[in-house]
């Protein structure tokens, strides 16, 4: 377990949070998208994270530590939100339109936690780097 491993773990956290930010931006941008390639409204995306051991052959301590991996992006399968709007071009015969089942408030809260998580991981990096530089000053 050297300092580079700590960097790699934090780097994986930063990458994971960036993917989370990307899914949130996609969800927010498409909050009212009614047309997609597969037909139907846009479906909400959410990333799936998985822990992966940083060194499965290393020491006991190394095997206990894991970085985060993005194992995929889940696409919701719900029918969407039915809104009565007969003037909408995508309205069906009964005047209903299917909008994505995306709650803007929910996405905004997700955005806040994602950005805070990103900051937290960046702080771990800074602290690790500070400690390394401090260690190099021992005996000066």
């Amino acid at each position: 377990m050297d300092i580079i491993d700590t960097f790699n773990i934090s780097a994986s956290g930063l990458a994971a949070q960036r993917v989370r930010l990307q899914t949130i931006s996609s969800n927010l941008a498409n909050a009212r998208t009614t047309r997609t390639e597969n037909g139907g409204p846009y479906q909400r995306r959410s990333p799936i994270f998985e822990a992966s051991a940083i060194d499965s052959f290393g020491s006991r301590l190394d095997r206990a530590l894991s970085s985060v991996n993005i194992s995929g992006i889940d696409v919701a399968t719900g029918p969407g939100r039915r809104v009565h709007d007969p003037s909408h071009p995508d309205a069906d015969a009964s005047g209903h339109v299917l909008f994505p089942d995306i709650d803007i408030l929910h996405e905004m809260v997700d955005l806040m936690t994602a950005s805070r998580s990103y900051e937290a991981n960046a702080n771990v990096l800074d602290t690790t780097s500070e400690l390394a530089n401090r260690a190099l000053q021992i005996g000066r």
Partner: protein, 97 residues
């Protein structure tokens, strides 16, 4: 450090440095060179990351910054080790015989 051992033998052909010292010197030499190689490799990674970012092929800001930080720490470590080794060498050279 191997130069230290060879210069000892060069200065006094009759007295060769003991086998043990030569072995230790060679091992030290190897470890210094491998450490420098490691630092060089980390710098290569940082260079590569910077190039990719600058050319727009990879927009991974934090990856690039982390590679640079790793290179910075590796270099600082190398400089610290060099300072220690040079300090030890100077102390021995200044020893009154």
């Amino acid at each position: 450090m191997i130069d230290l051992a060879t210069s000892v033998t060069a200065l006094s052909p009759q007295v060769t440095a003991p086998q043990g010292i030569q072995k230790v010197a060679a091992e030290f030499d190897d470890s210094v060179f491998s450490a420098i190689g490691q630092v060089d490799k980390i710098h290569g990674h940082a260079d590569n990351a910077l190039e990719l970012l600058a050319s727009g092929q990879q927009v991974d800001l934090h990856g690039t910054m982390i590679a640079l930080e790793k290179a910075d720490i590796a270099l600082r470590t190398m400089v610290s080790v060099r300072d220690k080794v040079v300090g030890a060498y100077e102390q021995i050279m200044n020893m009154a015989i």
